[in-house]
Each structure stands twice: as structure tokens, then as C-alpha cells.
Symmetry: C2
Subunit: 636 residues, 2 copies
């Protein structure tokens, strides 16, 4: 055997890119079903949706008494009120259901038991200290996108959402072949000329740390045919094969010749020290990597070239907990009494990180899943002003944040679909979406806290959606409106429509649940009321607000309300009946430079794809005539 | 049952400190033996020493030919030399033994085969491209201190050093008791009033991530006696018990009452939001922690209060890979051709991080174990100057670096002993020691790269150790010399002293192995030679250098040399005979402010402890009359 004297060496990044490109679809993960309680560190292979809402019912948010809010009217420090046990109140602990006729909770600390009953010092407004059904998780809501590594908090939320089994990527099997006539097992007594074989055991541990399953083979002597046979066997049993060593250019370095015979060698030699003599190859459709023998070289070669291949199978990008500084998008007030941990979403908009606080309740487990990190408000601190720079401990890497499209505005289930498809399309790309209504979203966009704002705001005068609102909010700026979908809005009612509701006029005789101020659906509802000549006071529940279509649907499904306005897809998902009221335009507003972000290109590619349109058809209630059209909007 | 209305809330750090203090010796880990190949992420419970050296013998560092250096003299580009196969050279691959009469390797690239033999273009100096026995690991050397979390690279080095089983701390068993009449298992169909139990599954995953073994019990209804029974059972089976929830002040919150009955409650209520109603208690000598029910509160309470208790058992402090900037202590030259990964030790000296490059050979696996991180020299870069700031990727947390005493100077095995004892005494405190000889160490101390320098430099004129060297190197500064040990230096020879060596005079008829320039032992040897009227040229091997006492001993034990000077403990450890030559003073030089470092106080406490003296007696060859004396040295 001749020496292979002339390795050509490639720069590290180039070698890696060439190899991953050459592997193509080879390293594509397959999936399997596991129990949620066994799923720690596994990676989701598809989006996961909640089966049940959490809480499942209206429930007490505090220990105390459940009361009928109307019967507490007039109570004050000056005018104590005594409630009768059983009749006016019942004692509840946190989490207990709040059932009719009770509709509010007074904290234990604010009550005093007497012989006649319970003394209170303040009136309780309706729904005080009550967690409405679905406050944390709404049945049908997406809990996790695909390609998400399961953390302890995810396990908690999945189970709370009624999910007990999930589909995850199979762990890749990595065959490890130690070669060398001079190497011996660690348990034998070494003689001169012997080298204790230890690299393969280091590789086993490295593969485990990366989420693979190592499979180590017996030591193979430096003989061409024997090594070849072992490589073929390992290729049969595994998804990836590591051969160690024989990757260099010595007289007994057979690996590269064998790999050329049975497959294709893309790289032999990398400009990295230590670690130069690396072989990156493919055989029988599987990645085979030749690793040098010196331990430090071996370690670096595995880290630089085997890890990225394993990650192709696990669907994961690198991550770890890190600290960054971010500009706070909202004022954050906290008590001096305690240290507060506030969950935040983080995005890079322009050249700064922006963080938006999420739900702060202790019951809001989903906020932990949605959060990109924590911002800690120290004890003895009153909080921070909007625009202040705060320290954030990330749950993911800053690189992941950099690849996130920050979406703030109106809610629609299609955002979940796009988000999941983005996670699946390209490693590490994410859509982070926060639902505060169309108008709130446009204001966030103006303040530089969002990349895009989904909006469906009707101009009552012109009948045109969104454009006039953008013009008035962004004077002197050129903006872009990417047309989204036509969306059927309507009235959601319980299955079978027991109250026989046919139009907005019928709503005066039902319990309504509304959306928050600034939500496009609320603007539309106000417009429809005005058209029908009905005043808001005539609607029972006009002031009851829910933050998303799904939250409205959940309240109707749970019997808390009879009807509410929303989109067909939400009614469909919750098994409700739906009375169409009209079609509206749900679009995406952004600054022109946002169109140039690679992640935004992924968003637009998905928005106009047939796969996405097929998903919309499954959800129902959408039209896509204008989807993806780009309109430039400029107002002097 | 009355409500527990009046929780007193304590600040988070205070609550944690109070609790850990109250637990005292309760949470002390016990240890067990595991195979090295199963030891990933386990934590050593005692220092681990190498059984064999690595390499085991002098070996080829390159693929090429082994030659007799004297026979290559005169070869050059202008005067090619042809060597005869079998006689003048043999072909070797990396790792092959280099046996007499061969004593050097020429790289394959620099040779050309002809009919008559092998043509070379340059002479090979003795020991060129030969890895001497023990270059990476010396038998008897400490590989890991106690309290070290096993990483993949450690597994490789332990096996290379002949270690196949190690003693690690047992993983703590953590009992998890979900309580609540309203909670149900995830697999049941939820009804109104039901809450799906998910916290305990989140806790299981959190305990696993921290290296504990979770043991979840069945759901217990809110009944005093039933919960008590379950807690007692869990206390029987586990090291730590978590009760969830019932930790608050509701009517059915029994946990605090039960813990007061069967044990002691130290904290009830923490100033943390979410997460306030935490109970920190002890019962039957074991930690019991009451965790609130809301998932976010539960998560934060476990992270803040259960994790530190688990770490008491695992012996670990927090860690993760992080990036810092550090000042380079030595010039670092690299080729433009490749990206180079240089292992570095990092220390915080004053207000800056300082990093010192370690051995750069690909075979130096121990350098990966010793390293605190990597400094990457990009391709197309020639390297960095000393004093430049470079980016370092740490293997541990910056906090661990902050708690490290940086020790640069002369080598003695007692440093391993102190290092191990420091790791055992206090969580996260470390001694990082680099061996470059006494004089090199004092220069590093002067440049602000070290906290302390072990030194044993003899002033031939006064016969006083160390003080005059410090005076001349630190003019105008007040310095401190902490007296270390009296140490017997002598000549190490093979067992039985086959050459019958009795004194320095006899060394002219033996193969000697020397220490590097600036080493105190070399200064002493030069002094002894001068006294004996022998010139260095008369000593065969005067220019052969080894970096530590153990490396010298290993070469004698391996037969590469007949004798060398060193300390008794090294001879003893390698089973060599020892001819005493004299006692010297091995002390620690430092700046006065170093005495104030808490970690240095730990060092001094150990130095003067009886436990340490007992260890010295086991090693042999030390006296401790002045140990721990502090001398102020000031030179104008």
C-alpha cells in the first residue's frame, strides 16, 4: 500500500458545508412515538396541539371565598358587609371550580369569619380572581412546533394540555469502529508497542451528549479487508459510521481507500490544528467519517464534523442558556417585596434585542413554553420603564433569536401553521408571535419592536382594510403590506345553535364574549352593531374580553358564554356552530427592509406555497385570491 | 383545619442560605464505584491517579522513518543522504515504538524511496518527532480531582491512563409526592373540578437533568394522615423529598403542619414571584421541600431550592460553556494554513482574566482535561502577541474561574494533594497549577498572570532559599513568602541502583535526564556539579529536559535514562531508588493582597492542616517545621 502523501486541506466551514451539501437528503430523520413522560431531550417531529384546555373550567385563582359579585356591591372599609355561608359564598382553595351562581373570588386575607357568616371589606367585581377556562392553554392550540427539544417545562404543559404521547425524531444510531493493530482494550495489560484504545469510549459519550445512540464495534486490526467488512457491517446497523483512525496518509491508513471503493469521499484533510486528517464520505447512502487517532484531534474532528451530521438527524441546532441585554418593549412594574421572574419573548429588530413580557401569572405554564427567556426584577426594585435595557437569561442561543421573525398583532391560527412550517423548513428559523390585536401590533411595529404585524382593520368609510390605518400611523414613511388571506368572520355558537341566533340583531338575547380593544374583530363587531342600530350596553358581556379567537371559542364551548365573534377555523376547531357575518382581509404590515431578511423570505415562501394553502383548506373559512401580493403604502 | 394566614417571606438568597446552613451535614453524598465507560456526567468522589503512563514508551509522533540521529549528520538539500533499509532506518507510523538504536523520526514527506534505500534532505537531531514515555500522562499523576463532573474527554484520558473504574458520588434519590384531592393522572378523562397532574412529571425531568434519580409516588388526596404516611414512606426510600402542593396557607394546605409534626420547618414563604409559598424543612435527617402548585411557581421553586440541595449530594456547582475575553500570557504563533484550537488555562488575577496556553500537540489529551477552555486562532492569522486580548470558550462557568487560585511555578506532588483537598473543602474552589519552574513562575507572578508561585531557588552565596530572587525581581514592592515544606532532593535511580551511584560525582558514568532551565532542581544540580568540579559537558543527557519530577522519574523507570535529580516523593511513587543529596525549601511567593482572597484562605487552611501533613507523610521526604509561616519581603 502506498502512502497517501497529498491531502488537500480545506477550511473548516467550507469542508463542513461541502459535506452537508453532498449528504443531501441522506441524513433525514425518521420519527417515532414516545410517551411524554419519557420525552426529555427528544425533538418533536411535528407540531403538537393541546387536547384539553387549562384550566378546564373557570376556577379560583386564590384561596378565599367564591361570591356572587352583585351581592357584594356597596361593601367598603367604612361599610362592612356580612355574607351568609352556603348562600352568599362558599370557601374555595386555589384551583377549585367557580360555578353558578358564584362569579368572583375574594382572597382569604380580605375576609373575616364571624358567627353570622363572612365579613368583607370591599365589593368584588365580576370575575375577580377567577381564572377563565383556557386562560393558560386553549384546546386545539399549538403547544410546540416541530423541531423543538423537549424540556421539563414542556412535559408539564403537554400533560396539562391532555397530550400523553408525541411524535419525535428517532435518535440516530452511530456506529464506532476502532481500528489499529497496535491498539488494545483498556482491560488488557499493556506491553511496549500497545496503545490503550480510549477514543471510541470518548466518542460514545460525545454521541450520547448529542442525543445519538452509540454502537461501538470490536477493535479491527489494520487490514484492508477486515476494516472494509467491519465498515459494511456498521453501515448495515447504523445511520452514521465513524472509523477511527487510519484517516491519515500513513502506509497502514486504509480508511480513505476503502471509502473510495465502497462509496464517495468528499473531503480528505481539513485546515484545522489539531485534527487535520479528517475524511468526510458517504457509502450506501449513509455518512461515514474518518477521524484521526490523536485524542485531541479526534475530539475536535467529532465536534466539528460528526456533531453537525447528528444534528441533521435530531433536527436540532445548537443551544444553551445565555445572557443578553434587551430593550424592554413595555413598562414592567413589580413589588419591592419580592424578586420577580418575568417570562419574555425576545427578538432582534434592526441592531438591538427587544424583549416583550409575557403573562405573569404563576398558572401560566404556557408562558414558560413560549418564552425565550427570563428577565429578573430584583427584590427592592419597583420595575423598569419601557425602553430601558434589561438583562435577559435566554433559554435558547442568541443565534436562534437572530433567526426569529417577530410577529406582533392580530391572532389567527394560520400563524401557528406558518410557524410550524418555518421550523421544519430550515434549521433554527422561528416565528415568534404575540397576540395583542391589530392596532396594538401596528403600534409595536412603529416602535421597532416587531418585524411584521398581522392586521385586519376595516376603514368604515372606504370599506378598505388596513391601508388607511397604516397611512395614519406611519406618516412620511414607506411601508409594505403583504396581502394575507380573506377570512370569514362570524358568530360562534354552541353546537346545534340552541338560542337560534341568525344575525347580529339576535345577540341582545344572549351572553356574549368580546375581544379586547384594538382587536380587528372588535372593530368589526362595533361596525356591525352600529349598522344594526344596537348600542354596546344592550349586549350582555360586551365588556368580557378574551385575547384570541380560540379563547372566545373555548368560553362558548365551556358554556361560560352563548356566543362571540370570531373566525370559522376557531369555531371548527372547537366543534362550534358558525353563522357567517362577512369576509375580511387579514394582511401583514412591515417596513420595506424586512422583506430582505432571509427568515422573512422563508415566511413569504411558505405563505404562497401549495402546502400552506392545503392546510388552510383543512382549517376552513379562508380565501387566498390575493395571498402574497406586495403593496407599497406611502403617506405624506 | 385553620388557614395558615401569616407566611413570613424571606429574600431568595437568604432563604437558601438559611436552609443549606440548617441542613448542615445532612446532605452529604456517599460514593460508589462505576466503570469509566459508564461514568459520563457522574462526579468523582476522590482524586484519580493514572495507573500507566501515556505514551507507554517512546513512540513516533509522525508517520515516517525511525533513524539513528548520529547517522543522519551532514544531510542537507545540497548534500542528500541515502539511508539503508533495516540498518539505518525502519518505516514507522504514528504511535509505533522507537527502540534502540533508533532515536529520531523523519517525516514521510521529507523522505524519498530509491532502489538503494531512503533519501533524506536534512539531518535529524536526537529525539526529533519522538514522543517520550509519559509525555501526555505520567503514571501516578493525578488525572482528576474529587468533585469533577466526568466529560467525554475525561473518559478517554482515564482509560489511556489505565483507569477502568472510578469512585463517584451516588446519585441522590428524590422522592416526589403529588398531593391534591382534585388532581388526576394525565391518562384519565378530565371532568369539571379535575386538574391534570403534570408538575411531578416536570420535576422528574428536572431531577434527571441535575443528575438525581427521581422516584414519583401515586397522587395523595388532601388528607392529613394520608399525606403524612406518604411523606414518611418517601423519607424511607429517598435522600430528598418534594411535596407538591399544599405548601400555601389554604384550608387544605396540610404540608407545613405535617412537616412541623415530623420534623422542623426553617422557611415558609419566600419573597419570589411566582413561587412564594415554598416550605424548606428537614425530617428524619433528610431535606423535605414543599413546592407550590402553580406550574411556573413550581418550576422556579425547584430551580431555586431543590437544585442547590441536589448539588449538595452530587458535589457539583453550576456550569456550562461560556465565552469570555482573556489576556494572553504568552505569545501564540500559528500557521496561516489552518484554524488552530489552543487549549488554555484561565484565571482571574485582579480585575482581568488571564489565559495561559497549554501543550499544543494533538496527542496531549491531558491538556484537554487540564484546560479551562479553548482559544481559537483563525485560519489566515499568524497568532497573537502576549498581552493581547483573545476570545476564550470556557468549558466551565466564569464563576468557577473566579474561584480558582492560579498557581504557576515549580512542580511538586503536594500541589495535587492541595488541589484535591480544595475541591473537596468548598463547592467550586479550585487550584489551577502550571509547571514552568521556579524562575518562570516568579516572572509570571510579576506580570500579573498568577496568584502564587511555588519556588525553591537557592542563593548560592547566602544559602538562603527564594528571598533574594524575589527581592531582585520585585524592586520597590512588598511581597509575601509563605513557607512551604522542607523537601529532600536526591538522585533517582532504577530499583536496586544497578550502576551503584552514590553521589553527584558518579553521574559522569550514567545517562542523565535533566529538568528545564529555570527549574529549582536544575539550579541545585548546577550548584552540586560546580561543588564537585564537574562541567555540564561531562554529563550525558544534560540537555535532555523533562518538565516535572514525575516525568524525570518516568523516564528512569522506563529505562530511557539511568538517573536524574528530583524529590523523594516522585521516586517513591515510581518505585525508584533514591540517593538523598540535600534538603531544600519549597515556598509560595505572592503579593500581599492575595492573602485576602477567600480561596487563598482555603489554600492556607489546608497547608497547615493535620490532614495535609498526614498526606505528606504518606508521600515521604518532606519536613514541615516552618510550614505556613508568613514572611514579608521588601526590597528597595
Amino acid at each position: 500500500m502506498k502512502r497517501n502523501l497529498y491531502l488537500t486541506t480545506r477550511p473548516v466551514e467550507e469542508a463542513r458545508a461541502v459535506y452537508l451539501e453532498a449528504l443531501g437528503d441522506v441524513a433525514r430523520p425518521h420519527s417515532e412515538t414516545v410517551r411524554v413522560i419519557d420525552a426529555l431531550d427528544r425533538v418533536t417531529s411535528e407540531a403538537i396541539y393541546a387536547k384539553y384546555s387549562s384550566p378546564l373550567y373557570n376556577s379560583a385563582a386564590m384561596d378565599g371565598i367564591a361570591v356572587i359579585s352583585s351581592k357584594t356591591a356597596g361593601a367598603s372599609e367604612a361599610s362592612l358587609l356580612t355574607l351568609k355561608a352556603g348562600e352568599d359564598y362558599v370557601i374555595v382553595d386555589t384551583g377549585d371550580p367557580i360555578k353558578k351562581p358564584f362569579d368572583a373570588v375574594i382572597m382569604a386575607e380580605d375576609t373575616q369569619e364571624t358567627e353570622g357568616g363572612m365579613v368583607i371589606r370591599a365589593a368584588a367585581p365580576a370575575w375577580q380572581h377567577v381564572r377563565p377556562v383556557g386562560e393558560d392553554i386553549v384546546a386545539g392550540e399549538m403547544i410546540l412546533t416541530r423541531c423543538h427539544r423537549i424540556r421539563p417545562i414542556d412535559i408539564g404543559v403537554l400533560l396539562s394540555g391532555g397530550v400523553t404521547e408525541i411524535s419525535v425524531y428517532a435518535q440516530p444510531r452511530v456506529g464506532i469502529i476502532p481500528t489499529g493493530t497496535e491498539i488494545i482494550e483498556p482491560y488488557e495489560d499493556p506491553q511496549e508497542g500497545d496503545i490503550i484504545e480510549s477514543n471510541s469510549r470518548m466518542f460514545e459519550a460525545m454521541v450520547r451528549e448529542q442525543g445519538g445512540i452509540p454502537c461501538r464495534y470490536d477493535i479491527v486490526p489494520d487490514e484492508y479487508e477486515t476494516i472494509k467488512k467491519s465498515v459494511l457491517k456498521a453501515l448495515d446497523d447504523n445511520d452514521i459510521v465513524i472509523v477511527n483512525a487510519g484517516s491519515s496518509a500513513g502506509t497502514e491508513d486504509y480508511t480513505v481507500h476503502i471509502l473510495r471503493e465502497i462509496g464517495e469521499v468528499f473531503v480528505h484533510g481539513v485546515a484545522m490544528k489539531p485534527g487535520k486528517p479528517v475524511i468526510l464520505a458517504k457509502a450506501y447512502g449513509k455518512p461515514v467519517i474518518g477521524i484521526p487517532g490523536y485524542p485531541v484531534s479526534a475530539y475536535l474532528a467529532v465536534e466539528n464534523f460528526v456533531y453537525p451530521v447528528i444534528r441533521r438527524f435530531t433536527g436540532l441546532s445548537e443551544s444553551g442558556e445565555r445572557n443578553i441585554e434587551a430593550v424592554l418593549s413595555r413598562r414592567l412594574v413589580s413589588s419591592l417585596k419580592h424578586r420577580e421572574y418575568v417570562r419574555v419573548r425576545v427578538g432582534r429588530v434592526g441592531d438591538r434585542y427587544v424583549c416583550a413580557p409575557l403573562a405573569r401569572g404563576a398558572g401560566a405554564a404556557m408562558s414558560m413554553v413560549r418564552a425565550d427567556g427570563f428577565c429578573v426584577i430584583p427584590q427592592e426594585t419597583e420595575g423598569y420603564e419601557a425602553g430601558e435595557t434589561v438583562a435577559v437569561t435566554l433559554f435558547c442561543s442568541p443565534e436562534e433569536i437572530d433567526r426569529t421573525v417577530v410577529c406582533i398583532g392580530s391572532h389567527d391560527m394560520l400563524l401557528d401553521v406558518i410557524s410550524d412550517m418555518m421550523s421544519g423548513e430550515s434549521e433554527g428559523v422561528r416565528l415568534s408571535s404575540t397576540h395583542i390585536g391589530s392596532l396594538g401590533g401596528l403600534i409595536a411595529l412603529k416602535r421597532g419592536e416587531a418585524h411584521i404585524t398581522p392586521t385586519h382593520l376595516l376603514d368604515e368609510e372606504t370599506g378598505i382594510y388596513n391601508e388607511s390605518y397604516i397611512r395614519s400611523l406611519f406618516p412620511g414613511e414607506e411601508m409594505v403590506l403583504v396581502k394575507g388571506v380573506g377570512r370569514i368572520q362570524g358568530i360562534m355558537v354552541a353546537p346545534g345553535n340552541p338560542l337560534g341566533i341568525k344575525s347580529v340583531e339576535d345577540l341582545v338575547r344572549a351572553r356574549y364574549v368580546n375581544r379586547q380593544r384594538g382587536a380587528g374583530t372588535r372593530v368589526l363587531f362595533d361596525y356591525k352593531l352600529k349598522q344594526a342600530g344596537i348600542s354596546p350596553e344592550e349586549i350582555d358581556g360586551y365588556d368580557a374580553e378574551a385575547a384570541t379567537h380560540m379563547a372566545v371559542a373555548a368560553q362558548i364551548a365551556g358554556g361560560e358564554a352563548d356566543c362571540g365573534m370570531g373566525v370559522y377555523s376557531a369555531a371548527h376547531a372547537m366543534g362550534l356552530d358558525f353563522i357567517p357575518v362577512g369576509e375580511e382581509e387579514y394582511d401583514f404590515a412591515m417596513r420595506p427592509e424586512t422583506l430582505e431578511m432571509p427568515e422573512m423570505k422563508s415566511f413569504l415562501r411558505i405563505l404562497t406555497s401549495n402546502e400552506f394553502k392545503a392546510e388552510l383548506e383543512k382549517l376552513g373559512g379562508y380565501s387566498t385570491d390575493k395571498t402574497g401580493e406586495i403593496r407599497r403604502i406611502f403617506a405624506e
